[in-house]
């Protein structure tokens, strides 16, 4: 009995290893170490509620002054942090080895960032924002002013404290619970670069807003007006790095989070501004606690078989399946949608089909290989607002029939067979007759 037991033991061991791996993959898509750069350590306390909510969700925050000379994002080729919170709007240059390019490379390496500016935003911050597809108003004195949708707690009356409620309609970015209270905002406005298709305006200004210096008289028409002004934008890069850019640092402050709000001209007064919910939900999105999809176990095989072939033949029937999961913040949950499509693609999609799901994460579809040979690709291009993009491509050649796969013994060809054989027979008869005639 010992002999069979040993393999069983190995099997168990192997299973254990697999299980451990499985658990490892149960971790979230992103690490939890976040660097917070501030230009004044007072920000740490004035924005403690926001930081507190981050820490409460398990993020490991490291606070540094932006001009700390020992500042470094990576060491020995490894990034030290998984995310960056840039709450240092006025810093002219970072300390240590960090500069604008280092921050951009950090993003291009697949890390996330929250950037907040205000009216004192430096060229450095503006430069980073521009590279992320967002242009702050070039006038350094300008702020967003709105004479209709301002928050009426404001008494002074330059109407720069905005009560914004033009939020993007996306449960993924803002959470499923609707944000009822307006979001307080005081800062500079920006516009999304029209050539950049990755930027989304999360909080837009109302049509009556404009961007100008509140202290002087309006000399010329403001360059940014109306709902073209974005107050808070997000950008999800092609490598799924997420960046949130806000024109107001105060938006995250304890004062705004706790304050009550009443929109001018509105009777409804809210106990608490929408800021807390807004910053919590958007930061969840930025740090990939929501809306992160992963696709695993891409499989394809001929119907009736299980092994994946290295090549298909024209007119084969095949089945393609992929498992898609969504990170819920704590675990990977099956992603359920009815709009995931698979393409069988060679220069153009020959097959384009909706995949059906079993609600446990598995999406599958079966179709017939077209009657064309070549190098095809299975492509799943799933780009849904707020979610990370899924872009799966798997190359697979499709060959024509082999010489022995064509139809044989075709009925309509029987006379030809008969003729060939009859001449053959005739040849034998003839030979015999010819040789023995006499």
């Amino acid at each position: 009995m010992a002999a069979p037991r040993l393999p069983v033991l190995f099997l168990l061991l192997a299973l254990l290893v697999v299980a451990c791996r499985g658990e490892a993959s149960g971790e979230g898509p992103r690490g939890r170490k976040v660097l917070v750069l501030v230009d004044d350590l007072a920000v740490r306390s004035s924005h403690s509620a926001f930081f507190g909510s981050l820490q409460a969700r398990g993020l490991d925050l490291e606070f540094r002054l932006a001009d700390d000379p020992k500042l470094s994002l990576h060491r020995y080729g490894q990034y030290l942090y998984d995310g960056l919170v840039l709450f240092a709007p006025s810093t002219p240059r970072f300390g240590g080895s960090v500069d604008q390019n280092a921050v951009l490379e950090f993003i291009d390496a697949g890390h996330d960032m929250i950037l907040a500016a205000d009216s004192s935003a430096s060229d450095l911050i503006r430069g980073i924002a521009t590279e992320c597809g967002v242009d702050f108003d070039e006038d350094p004195e300008a702020m967003v002013i709105d004479h209709i949708n301002y928050a009426s707690t404001e008494v002074e009356g330059d109407h720069t404290l905005i009560a914004g409620d033009d939020l993007i309609e996306s449960d993924v970015i803002l959470g499923s619970k609707k944000i009822d209270a307006p979001v307080l905002f005081r800062g500079i406005g920006h516009a999304a670069n029209p050539s950049n298709s990755l930027v989304l305006k999360v909080l837009s200004a109302s049509p009556s807003a404009y961007s100008a210096n509140p202290k002087t008289k309006l000399a010329s028409p403001p360059s940014l007006t109306g709902s073209a002004i974005s107050l808070v934008s997000v950008m999800q890069a092609r490598n799924n790095a997420r960046v949130l850019i806000s024109g107001s640092l105060d938006l995250f402050s304890n004062r705004f989070l706790k304050s009550s709000v009443k929109k001018a001209g509105s009777k409804l007064s809210h106990e608490k501004a929408g800021n807390e919910q807004f910053v919590t939900e958007t930061s969840k999105w930025v740090f990939h606690e929501r809306g992160h999809l992963k696709a695993v176990n891409v499989k394809h095989h001929k119907i009736g078989e299980t092994n994946e072939p290295s090549m298909y033949r024209i007119n084969d029937d095949l089945e393609y399946s992929v498992e898609i999961y969504e990170w819920s913040g704590t675990s990977w949950k099956p992603y359920v949608a009815d709009d995931v499509q698979v393409q069988f693609y060679m220069m153009s999609p020959y097959v384009l089909k909706n995949m059906s799901t079993d609600k446990k994460g598995v999406y599958s579809s079966s179709f017939k290989v077209p009657d064309v040979y070549g190098v095809f690709q299975f492509k799943v291009e799933y780009q849904k607002l707020g979610y990370t993009g899924l872009s799966l491509a798997k190359q697979i050649p499709v060959r024509p029939y082999r010489h022995n796969e064509y139809e044989r013994f075709i009925t309509s060809a029987y006379p030809y067979y008969a003729a060939s054989f009859s001449t053959m027979g005739a040849f034998f008869i003839f030979s015999i007759a010819y040789l023995y005639h006499k």
Partner: protein, 114 residues
């Protein structure tokens, strides 16, 4: 046209008269050739009716007949005693060549048929 018809009649008559004098072994060959040509014609007609889909089968069917016929005619030329051109070619040798060619023909046809 009656003149032409008369000509044709005369033609056939004199032809058959002349043909009667042919030796038997040549007659056997002629019969064989006629059979092959007839089979070929039947196949072509059939192809005209059902279309040329299994084209390789059609070709091999027809070509096997034509090939057979042509080879037989070659044999007939070579073994014809009246023919001065092939005096120094023994009929046995001619027949052996003929068999060889036929073997090749039919082997290729078999390969091409399916």
């Amino acid at each position: 046209m009656p003149k032409a018809a008369g000509d044709a009649k005369l033609l056939i008559q004199s032809l058959s008269k002349a043909y009667a004098a042919t030796p038997t072994n040549l007659k056997i060959i002629d019969l064989y050739v006629v059979f092959a040509v007839a089979t070929a014609v039947v196949q072509v007609v059939y192809m005209g009716v059902v279309g040329s889909f299994p084209f390789n089968s059609f070709l091999s069917g027809v070509l096997s007949c034509i090939g057979t016929a042509v080879l037989a005619v070659c044999l007939r030329i070579q073994v014809n005693k009246d023919n001065k051109e092939f005096k120094d070619l023994a009929p046995e040798r001619a027949f052996a060549d003929f068999v060889l060619c036929n073997l090749v023909l039919h082997l290729v046809i078999m390969n091409f048929l399916g």
